[in-house]
């Protein structure tokens, strides 16, 4: 029988576990085709391990093992939510590149409009980190600079845009080559696009953002920046301003897009709250029907899919978000929440946005009757407050700190 080296023995493990690089895998598979001994060894490993595991005396896993695992997984998810470009799926799907491209375009766009047009063009930054340290824009986002990519842009802007586009291409290439490294955005930079984490301690669940909501959020950012081709007026006339996404603005800033999407029955509609709408906090009931309800009870697993935070007593429990219930982006002082009505508990009623004070009292910012499309709710935020999104007043979709 032909012998194979320890390299091949390790290679067999790595091959079965899918850890070989493509080139090494191809080499290994080529050898597998011709080497009976190696093929036997691979099969031996795969089958032997199952047979032996079934044959040894069986024990229950220690009860403390799962909380450690669940907590670490939740921490990893939270880290990735904070830095979504660390998520391999985002890279694969191009979302990380899309977001970075947006940021790379947004920030210089503001910069150009407000300050740089009268000065020599800036040297394009060399990395994402450098982009994040650009000097503060002198014009607040709420003043809505004209879109940097519109056709009516100043002619001398096109050259700068070309430079930026080249830079984006370069960044994409760098990202494709390099392992993702965390580059936390400066906390003090309130203008950056941030994914708001839910408040509370660890462990907690994930904010999984479905592709539909990712699209909705990116469209919303573009809309906030005034980049959408449709005008708010035409949006209002058609009932929805983007395919399959409804936009509702609860308190549009002066000159910004107005609340839209009121007319057709299937389109979300909004009722902004009056200033006197100070109410007591909604009562909160845990969402029923978690697929892991039974398991979580026996293994201290967070009840995924359930909302357990009592806004009157925020320390008492965790808000666990999953299934894309309500990811929120902060763009300056503008909050952008995306909700997929399909993920809401059946019959849960309209979505209410609350501003919470430190005593757990909530003030309604607005109420949105959901249509059938993914819906983006935007509102102007205050860095000193917490926000709460509920469905029907009983199910918490998300609770978001603006200040951190």
């Amino acid at each position: 029988m032909a012998e194979f080296s320890p390299q091949h023995i390790d290679g067999a493990m790595d091959y079965l576990l899918g850890r070989l690089a493509p080139v090494d895998r191809r080499q290994f598979e080529t050898r597998l085709e011709t080497d009976n001994a190696l093929r036997e060894y691979v099969r031996e490993l795969e089958q032997g391990v199952v047979a032996l595991a079934a044959a040894v005396p069986q024990h229950e896993a220690p009860p403390m093992a799962w909380p450690m695992i669940g907590g670490e997984v939740a921490r990893q998810i939270q880290r990735e939510n904070r830095l979504p470009f660390l998520r391999p799926g985002w890279l694969a799907g191009g979302w990380a590149l899309a977001v970075i491209a947006l940021v790379v375009i947004i920030v210089p766009g503001i910069w150009f409009r407000a300050a740089i047009l009268s000065r020599p063009p800036p040297t394009p930054s060399g990395s994402v980190a450098a982009v994040a340290t650009l000097p503060p824009a002198p014009v607040p986002i709420a003043e809505r600079p004209a879109p940097a990519l519109r056709n009516d842009s100043a002619p001398d802007e096109s050259g700068r845009i070309a430079v930026l586009q080249a830079k984006i291409t370069q960044l994409e290439a760098q990202l494709a080559r390099q392992p993702a490294v965390a580059q936390p955005a400066p906390a003090a930079d309130a203008r950056g696009v941030r994914l708001m984490p839910p408040v509370g301690g660890l462990p907690r669940g994930t904010i999984y953002i479905s592709p539909e909501l990712q699209s909705a959020l990116l469209l919303a950012v573009a809309r906030e920046m005034g980049w959408t081709l449709n005008t708010p007026a035409s949006d209002a006339a058609s009932g929805t301003n983007q395919p399959a996404v409804d936009f509702v603005d609860l308190n549009p800033p002066a000159g910004g897009p107005a609340a839209i999407g009121i007319a057709p029955a299937q389109v979300a509609s909004a009722v902004p709250a009056s200033p006197s709408d100070l109410q007591t906090s909604p009562s909160v009931l845990p969402a029923a029907g978690s697929p892991l309800e039974n398991f979580s009870a026996s293994a201290t697993l967070p009840a995924l899919g359930a909302s357990t935070t009592d806004p009157a007593n925020p320390g008492a429990g965790e808000t666990v978000n999953n299934g894309g219930l309500a990811p929120v982006l902060a763009l300056g002082n503008r909050m952008i929440a995306a909700i997929n009505p399909a993920t809401l508990p059946a019959g849960s009623g309209p979505v209410t946005v609350w501003q919470m004070d430190n005593n757990g009292n909530g003030q309604v910012i607005g109420t949105v009757t959901m249509g059938s499309n993914p819906t983006v709710i935007t509102f102007t935020g205050d860095a000193s407050q917490n926000y709460l999104l509920t469905a029907g007043g009983t199910n918490i979709l998300g609770q978001f700190p603006l200040g951190n």
Binding site: R19, E44, Q47, G48, V49, A65, V73, G205
Partner: protein, 208 residues
């Protein structure tokens, strides 16, 4: 009579053919695919289904509850990141999970000390493997299968069972086992192969 180095005919064919079509493993595969899509619930479900099997295997490998728990945790945390590496054309999901755990346990074994394949090490390993832990043992959900596998393992000739367990549970190479047993490499390989075939037949019979 032991098989020769180069098994021929049905024996070899059985060894190379795919793992039995196990409905449990198919469900594991489905969960692994869900985990690759970052479904947190799938990790919990897979843990619920397989933590006992993995822990028992690790306990047998490491002989130490604390280390077995530690490696069990590492396995499922690693799994969260690596589930997308899983390819069902190469291994069953159960095998993939157990191999992941085995690799981490092997690292632990290597870290304990630099093992030398001496006779005393062999005897020590063999005596450790013969300790049958009864306390805390439980029956698998598929208790019949576990019982059948255990019986099959016990029915193996002693040398065969030892070689099999040393190779899989302690990470000894075939050469090392042959060296301490004072036997030809081919004989050891054949023993391991026959032991695997016996266990595999048990699995196959169980799943029809």
């Amino acid at each position: 009579m032991e098989l020769t180095d180069q098994p021929a005919g049905r024996a070899q064919e059985e060894l190379i053919s795919p793992t039995p079509d196990d409905p449990e493993s198919r469900e594991d595969a489905r969960l692994l695919r869900a985990i690759a899509e970052e479904d947190q619930r799938a990790v919990a479900l897979l843990y619920q289904r397989r933590s006992g099997l993995v822990y028992s295997f690790l306990l047998r490998m490491l002989g130490n509850r604390a280390e077995a728990q530690e490696v069990l945790q590492d396995t499922f945390i690693r799994l969260w990141r690596r589930a997308k590496d899983y390819d069902e054309d190469r291994a069953s999901a159960t095998a993939w999970l157990l191999l992941l755990a085995r690799g981490l346990a092997m690292d632990k074994l290597r870290a304990r000390s630099r093992r030398k394949a001496t006779m005393s090490a062999y005897e020590s390993e063999v005596s450790a493997l013969e300790v049958e832990e009864i306390t805390g043992a439980r029956r698998l959900d598929s208790a019949e299968l576990a019982e059948a596998c255990r019986a099959a393992l016990n029915r193996l000739p002693e040398a065969q069972s030892r070689a099999l367990q040393l190779a899989f549970l302690r990470g000894w190479t075939h050469e090392e086992i042959a060296g301490v047993q004072g036997e030809a490499l081919g004989t050891v390989k054949a023993r391991i192969r026959r032991g695997l075939l016996a266990l595999r037949k048990t699995l196959k019979d169980y799943y029809g």
